[in-house]
Symmetry: C2
Subunit: 347 residues, 2 copies
Amino acid sequence: MLTPALQNCRLLKAARREPTDTTPIWIMRQAGRYLPEYMAVRSKVTFIELCKRPELAAEVTLTAQRVLGVDAAILFADLLPMLEPMGIDLEYAKGEGPVIHNPIRTAADVDRFHELETVDSLQFVFDAVKLIRRDLPADIPLLGFAGAPFTLASYVIEGGGSKNYLSTKRMMYCDEGAWRTLMERLVRSLVRYINAQVDAGCQAIQLFDSWAGCLSPADYRRYVLPFTKQVVAGIRADAPVINFLTGNPALLPMLREAGGSVFGLDWRVDLADGWRTVGHDVAVQGNLDPVSLMADLPTLRSRAKAVLDATEGRPGHIFNLGHGVFPEVPPDNVKALVEMVHEMGQK
Amino acid sequence: MLTPALQNCRLLKAARREPTDTTPIWIMRQAGRYLPEYMAVRSKVTFIELCKRPELAAEVTLTAQRVLGVDAAILFADLLPMLEPMGIDLEYAKGEGPVIHNPIRTAADVDRFHELETVDSLQFVFDAVKLIRRDLPADIPLLGFAGAPFTLASYVIEGGGSKNYLSTKRMMYCDEGAWRTLMERLVRSLVRYINAQVDAGCQAIQLFDSWAGCLSPADYRRYVLPFTKQVVAGIRADAPVINFLTGNPALLPMLREAGGSVFGLDWRVDLADGWRTVGHDVAVQGNLDPVSLMADLPTLRSRAKAVLDATEGRPGHIFNLGHGVFPEVPPDNVKALVEMVHEMGQK
């Protein structure tokens, strides 16, 4: 049950397309390497340790929200640790990003990738959620999140990040049965994992389909849409879903079909066009080019204003970047952006 | 002056949206590492040597056309050597792609980046064109090509490939004067370089804006469109331009504004939608997902058929991939694709 303070917070009102005093804003990867307060904690532990120690994950989550003055906290966590109890041997190699030592390439590999029957082994995530919710201001919602099925599948098939997704697409194209089995296991696992985040205290959930932009519309429709749709449909009805996909504006009509309350737009599309495409009967989030934060403040201001203007005064806009904030960004620019949006977004 | 055989070749007829006996096809990067005949030559020299020795560049160009049976040859060359006489210190580091040792980051750097006043130092390119045209079948056109101004600018600013284009966008956003000076020098240089390719014997020109997909529509319109438009307008009127941009379907309406006879579509957009967007009064090229070539032949066939079907029988389609062919692709699959398209494309 939501408290009245949360029920009426800016972000959740915007997600319901209700008018707000000003535009809510949060920043993807707001607890990240650009922020000295984050680095102070991060420098003492490895990335995965930070994910798995609830008191530290809570600390960086809370600090980022407080330092920036943003309208939501987002759980500090990563897309991939949920895969470990499913049989994936995951390592965060220093300076290289995640590496999966036993990637899934064949139907036989899919057989040893098992569904997440219980979320017990991910208790560290839910403990972090509880600590954060306990200490977060009463009117600040906590966002949980997870990877969308395609993005998780491409990680486990490629064994890490990828440029061209050769192995992922090869499985999709050549062994559709194995692909569907893999995606179905991810769907059921994701629904359990996400609902446990909501049970622990998250007020909304963002799905990240970070790599789906490599797909053609026909491939997204056939190989991805049915599965993302099942995840969204399986999430507790009281938790609004922010459905975010990056890298291909031509997929937006199908992102809408997949479902959600809010649709995340990256900067490749004009916000006004993107909103028209997903429909004015849903809310949108985005979509400033993250490199804007490298510019001088007057330029940053005019670029933020262009995003706000593209809403045409419609309620239901959550300001954000079109992608995560870069480590190179001066933290003062992020703080300035939050102030600018709160000032210029006043209704 | 075009010979009648060239005037009536499949590819140039399609570029003029005239009916053809079957759909013309060529493959981006058809003379590339997937092809044993290419590797036999390439293994004896460095990449840049292959670019700069006209008899070798001609050999790999001609061989690829002959072995595959495609409807066009494309000059073997690279986007970047034209930058060397402009003051850029270019190296192709082994296995790493191009590196520019003196990237352009400031207005002062732009001052030392000078316009290509004469194309004399690029004679090796025009010599290759002459050799290829001499030995190419009389009814096979030779395509020249160049990078579009944004793609070249991002190379010289980033000093090589890039993930997020931080330095490029920072110059665009923060020093628009320096950016415009840089782009204007590229425009005038490109027009000279491209027209010299046509003078030497190319029948059409493809412009590659390989990195422009990282831009928002508003940024493309303000910082890129005017310059690409000037390049297209400056190209000899008797050479059709294939204007190709990859990575963001939301930019297609502006690609059309930039001009050209044929618009290259990547696989991120349905060909039918992409054609509607650029307009049925121009031709299109594309747009099979290049990973399709990793699939079994029946799958490849059905995917190629879907592209052909998306033309709705309209003349003016040149079949191609949505991006260059990958080194991992079996050469027999490329040959099979050419045969499939010629067979299924029969009118």
